[in-house]
Amino acid sequence: MIRPLAAFLLLVLAALSAPLPAAAVQPDERLDDAAMEARAREISADLRCLVCQNQSIDDSNAPLARDLRLLVRERLLAGDSDEQVVEFVRSRYGDYVLLDPPLKLSTLVLWFGGPAVLVVAGAALWLWLGRRNVAAAAAGPAPLDAAEQRRLDDLLGGEDG
């Protein structure tokens, strides 16, 4: 009993110690003010690196990502709010730079496409299953043909004898 438990605990431990995604922030980029650095990290995690496109600037080693990380910190030091920093970058690179895209006309498909497919598919499945059950209930079990009836009689007869 001990052994499976130990194995299970080891597995949990391994899962917990799985490498966290390493940030690309270099020591020389960090701000001295820990609270402000935390805000910078949070903002950077939601800004797309335009060079690699599927990484945030917090994760990317591209030179442009480094420039943008430094820019984010510079804006924070200049007294910008988080929203002002994000808007500063968005006004230059567009909505595409936001990894958490805003809800607007051009992003409706992005926001509601998935749920819409789920709802339509769910409704179709529900209708189909409902119709199949109604059809099955109406028809009842099919009557046995002659061969099946003979086999059934044989089986039942054999049990008696």
Binding site: L50, V51, Q53, P63, L64, D67, L68, L71, R90, S91, R92, Y93, G94, Y96
Partner: protein, 176 residues
């Protein structure tokens, strides 16, 4: 009704296939991002010249006539590839340049080797002006109208197709 429903999956497939196929066939690169700056005045900037030159480039140098702004760097291979087209264009329209994230001492030999078609060059050594222009890679080329507004942005190297089908007609139209 049932017969119609039987064809529904096929219809959905056709719609998705078209949606995916059209950008493939028209050669649209999904990495070409739209610019936020279209129809906006050029961002405010004032860049020093490359060492040993006395031009530099500022936003006040833009406008007056239709011109191109070309972001280039000596380390950038696609810039070398588009350089003959830039040189050809510079005979019909002034082309100014922003030397992006480059070592200034590398840029001058590069121009000496490949020809210098630019009327002015500003050195954006730390890439900060590039960020203000929304540049995410070199080369990028912007068309500026007489009023100094950005009218078009082409990310990536210019090709003869872009030149003939987009840039030259647009320049003609803006001069109109």
């Amino acid at each position: 009704m049932t017969r119609f429903l039987a064809f529904l999956p096929l219809g959905v497939f056709a719609a998705v296939a078209l949606w995916v196929a059209i950008p493939l066939i028209t050669g649209h690169d999904p990495r070409d991002l739209p610019s936020e700056l279209i129809d906006q005045p050029a961002p405010v900037f004032d860049l020093p010249p490359l060492p040993g030159r006395d031009d530099g480039l500022a936003n006040t140098d833009l406008g007056g006539e239709v011109m191109l702004v070309n972001f280039f760097a000596s380390w950038c291979v696609p810039c070398l590839a588009e350089h003959p087209i830039i040189s050809r264009l510079s005979q019909t329209v002034p082309v100014v340049a922003i030397n992006y994230r480059d070592q200034p001492e590398d840029a001058l030999p590069w121009l000496a080797r490949n020809g210098d078609p630019y009327t002015r060059i500003g050195a954006d050594t730390d890439g900060r002006v590039g960020i203000d222009w929304g540049v995410y890679g070199v080369p990028e080329t912007f068309v500026i109208d007489r009023a100094g507004r950005i009218r078009y942005r082409h990310p990536g190297p210019l090709t003869p197709e872009v030149l003939n089908e987009t840039l030259l007609p647009l320049i003609e139209e803006l001069r109109g």
